[in-house]
């Protein structure tokens, strides 16, 4: 027994070094494996507050660009308003007795919550954003985040007033997307090389693809369908497989992101539960 104490006393520094190292690696592993709420509420709130102070200063420098982005988005939204389009077809019969009743009214599936970006990283291989919206404002885990120009990421942790978002520029991000031209669905990943480009995988070689084609989110994804992801920049043929790998230029400019929208999917829980229960049946 005495020897053990002597041993510990002699090697105390080395033992504490190893213990701290193991501690670091465990934290790192736990975090990158599960993306669970690792950040306890307190640190998240604190870091969020400091980030916000910094952002208050920083946002002044970008006001011009932000105004432009918002104006562009307003213009696009006005475009998509029903009232801004007219029916040209002469077949419209004004005497038609058909009137839509309440059963055919559209059911709301998504709602948007605007949020300010108070922390944003693009320089590391695992990039996260911090938004100034949290549990108290109705943000939940796994909600999709879209920006004025295109998709941004997915909420991974929530505290009372802040949330952390796994950016599209994350080594483990994976988003289902499709070609706008022929609805062929593939998977969006990031290779960690350039924050302006992402990769789209699993597009069958039978698909007709042209440079500059638009890629939007598919109906399978967590995002609302038909949200802009990016445009095709280059097409890589892999002779050993039946799939193309596409290099996309992201629609979102991650360098000057200031305001984003957190998307609430009212049907998410229902769909999620159904998919989970199917797994259980397979066991």
């Amino acid at each position: 027994m005495k020897n053990i104490f002597i041993f510990i006393r002699i090697y105390f520094n080395f033992i504490s070094f190893v213990a701290l190292q193991i501690c670091c690696i465990l934290i790192l592993n736990k975090y990158s494996k599960t993306h669970e709420v690792y950040f306890a509420g307190i640190t998240n709130e604190m870091v969020g507050k400091v980030n916000k102070k910094y952002d208050n200063v920083y946002s002044y420098l970008n006001l011009q660009q932000i105004n432009n982005q918002l104006a562009q988005e307003n213009a696009r939204l006005r475009d998509s308003l029903k009232s801004s389009s007219i029916i040209v077809s002469s077949k419209v019969d004004s005497t038609s007795t058909f009137k839509p009743d309440s059963a055919s009214l559209p059911i709301r599936k998504y709602s948007y919550l605007y949020a300010r970006v108070v922390g944003n990283y693009v320089s590391s291989p695992i990039n996260m954003l911090t938004l100034e919206r949290g549990r108290l404002q109705g943000v939940e885990k796994d909600m999709a985040v879209v920006g004025p120009q295109g998709i941004v990421g997915e909420v991974v942790e929530v505290s009372d007033n802040y949330c952390r978002v796994k950016s599209l520029l994350h080594r483990k991000s994976s988003v289902s997307a499709m070609l706008k031209r022929d609805k062929n669905a593939g998977n969006i990943e990031w290779d960690g090389v350039n924050p302006s480009y992402v990769l789209m995988k699993n597009i069958p070689k039978s698909a007709k693809i042209f440079k500059g084609d638009t890629v939007v989110t598919s109906t399978y994804s967590n995002y609302p369908p038909n949200v802009m992801v990016g445009t095709i920049e280059a097409i890589r043929k892999d002779n050993s497989s039946n799939f193309f790998t596409l290099k996309l230029k992201t629609a979102t400019n991650f360098f000057n992101l200031q305001y984003v929208y957190v998307v609430k999917n009212y049907r998410y829980n229902e769909q999620h539960m159904l998919e989970e229960s199917k797994l259980k049946l397979n066991d």
């Binding site: 520094n13 070094f17 701290l20 790192l28 400091v50 980030n51 990283y121 590391s124 360098f255």
Partner: protein
């Protein structure tokens, strides 16, 4: 007492500069990431307890991690350099005097040759271990070597600039202290 305040102030300054200036630099390239915060550990006094040194290293790393959302990634290399620091310093500081007469490592207290060796060695160790952990999760071998080389070079330039801009007056340790 004033010393402790000075070190706390220095700690906050290093973390804030790293997080809000250096990490916000638009990335020129995936290989170029400027790191400076670990200089705080290298500038701690000679006489510090080894366990305390490791603990301070851990806290420094974890506070950087909390800002960048990667807990443990920066803490591990900080603990490593904090652990190895006393060994290397024992080799490098002149042994003629029985007791150290200077408070902390600097060009004056160690001499330009020994001090630059000390800085380059620990910059390399820190970056190599940090990028090694990052690389274990993804990446190829070329990525690893290039990134270690480029970031080490960039950090050494940054540290030299810091040394010139913030000249530290080397303090003697007196018997009365």
């Amino acid at each position: 007492m004033t010393n402790i305040v000075k070190y706390i102030f220095r700690f906050i300054l290093f973390v804030l500069v790293q997080e809000f200036i250096l990490d916000k630099v638009p990335p020129v390239n995936q290989y170029v990431v400027p790191y400076l915060y670990f200089l705080f550990i290298l500038w701690l006094p000679f006489s510090i307890n080894r366990f305390a040194l490791m603990l301070i290293g851990f806290i420094t790393g974890i506070s950087i991690d909390y800002f960048s959302g990667t807990p443990g990634l920066h803490a591990a290399p900080c603990v490593l350099i904090a652990y190895l620091r006393p060994f290397i310093l024992n080799l490098l500081i002149p042994q003629e005097t029985t007791e150290q007469s200077y408070v902390e490592p600097s060009i004056q207290s160690m001499g330009p040759g020994a001090y630059s060796f000390y800085i380059i060695l620990f910059t390399f160790l820190h970056h190599a271990y940090l990028i090694f952990i990052e690389w274990l999760q993804f990446g190829n071998l070329r990525y690893f070597f290039t990134k270690v080389g480029v970031t080490t070079l960039l950090s050494i330039v940054l540290i030299s600039a810091t040394e010139i801009m913030f000249y530290r007056k080397a303090k003697y340790r007196t018997n009365t202290a």
